[in-house]
Symmetry: C2
Subunit: 246 residues, 2 copies
DNA sequence: TAAATAGTGTCTTTAAGACATTATCGC
DNA sequence: GCGATAATGTCTTAAAGACACTATTTA
């Protein structure tokens, strides 16, 4: 998990700088910072790692790392993720780039943030130091990572009902109660059961598998799955005024 | 408008590379590429500049440039814009970052793309080589700029009805006919006049100024303005199932 | 008054909000 | 049968779609 070079400097004042072969200044590096979300115990949680070195030693940070010239940023995000969580496939989507030259005291180091969603079923807390925190109970975060986490939550909330983004957070087959619980934990909004069912079914994003799941008590629940597992949009009418003919 | 160093190399094979003061590889540079939209003659147009140097000499490109360590990327975007269009204020919003190390033949040069919206009233075609192209009649574009333009159009379409993003494309005071014409040119969807009026008024984004505008013929049209000129969202009900109490 | 453009009224349709009811399981 | 959970039915409400109509200007 070596973060080449730039981890330890700038405690005092020396900044890392870079120049290209034509003599012009260049960024000292680029980090890729995945904002990893997963539902845990009915709450939306984010994966963080403790920082042991400056800057902001003692605070928590996104499980990111430096990008190399040999991989695309999505690949870096995926790699950092598997390094720290032993999770295979994730839903990955670029969030934003934080490029102000002064955001990182080590030097000019832009960060490309990614939204990464993990199904709780494949979660694993292992020997790494990474820990999950509910998004509404964040510890002190390094640099501008708190802002990045919040923008990740906003993105997730904004797309939740209009896309199949929840495919990344639910098991392959799920009950509507599971989905409702997840949606409520993300948005903080309670939903009436039958209306939730109707709206999600009408979205065209999910379908019943025909199987059922028997809980410890009560009527068995039907299992559903997302029709598409790759990013797609709800077919619900956009509620925007248009002429029918067009 | 000097683009330091990296404009001319790599015609043959030599790539620009960079390393930081700790000896690790670094990006050769970062470009900031604004996707500048403006309505012209009833069509949504994008601002492009011709490339005279490799790579992709002869093709058109976004009016971007290299970021320096002395400005934030939004400032670079704003600067490039004023250099090339003599336009003052614009609506600026980060679009995405294209960071694959192989996207630019000159070397590892990520691009941060920005969506920039300009009111047609402050447009000016001057001595620069920049030209406007309708977004549905693009010339051959350099590198991956066509993809970037398309993602810009998608972002604009997606937010059009849910935010005041059109504030960047309309004059300070506008008639509903103007707005309708703009909305139709962006989305390609025709709107019924009275429904368009009702929906836009109910969005809570605009208000009547009390003034009217007299065209060459016909009844004078009321002038409207956006209540907020900074980014904000429609207050239209989100059409998402929720319990009223929450 | 005719042509042109702006604005209103209203009925229909779609989909969400509320809430009562029925269904199916283990015990 | 009882408690627990899942699923259905339906009335109300909000907002878009369609379209007929009225209003105000210039020539």
């Amino acid at each position: 998990m070596s973060t080449p070079g730039l981890t330890s400097s700038a405690a005092g004042s020396s900044q890392v700088e870079a120049a290209n072969t034509e003599g012009y200044e260049a960024p000292a590096g680029i980090t890729v910072d995945p904002v990893v979300f997963a539902p845990r115990a009915g709450r939306l949680c984010v994966l963080l790692v403790p920082r042991h070195l400056p800057p902001d030693a003692g605070r928590w940070a996104l499980p990111g790392g430096f990008m190399s010239r040999h991989e695309a940023p999505e690949e870096t995000a995926q790699r950092k993720l598997t390094e720290k969580t032993a999770v295979g496939h994730v839903y990955l989507e670029q969030l934003a780039t934080y490029g102000s030259p002064h955001r990182d005291p080590r030097g000019w180091i832009p960060a490309i943030a990614y939204l990464a969603l993990i199904d709780s079923a494949v979660l694993r807390e292992d020997e790494t130091e990474a820990r999950w925190f509910p998004v509404d109970e964040l510890p002190p975060l390094a640099i501008d990572h708190e802002r990045i986490v919040h923008e990740g939550v906003e993105r997730l909330r904004g797309k939740l009902w209009y896309s199949n983004i929840a495919v990344g957070l639910l098991p392959e087959r799920f009950t509507l109660a599971q989905a409702r619980q997840l949606y409520e934990s993300i948005t903080g909004v309670r939903h009436e059961v039958s209306n939730f069912r109707r709206t999600l079914e009408q979205s065209g994003l999910i379908r019943a598998t025909g199987e059922v799941h028997q809980g410890p008590t009560g009527r068995p629940a039907r299992l559903y799955e997302f029709i598409e597992r790759t990013p797609s949009w709800s077919r619900r009418r956009s509620r925007i005024p248009a002429l029918a003919g067009s």
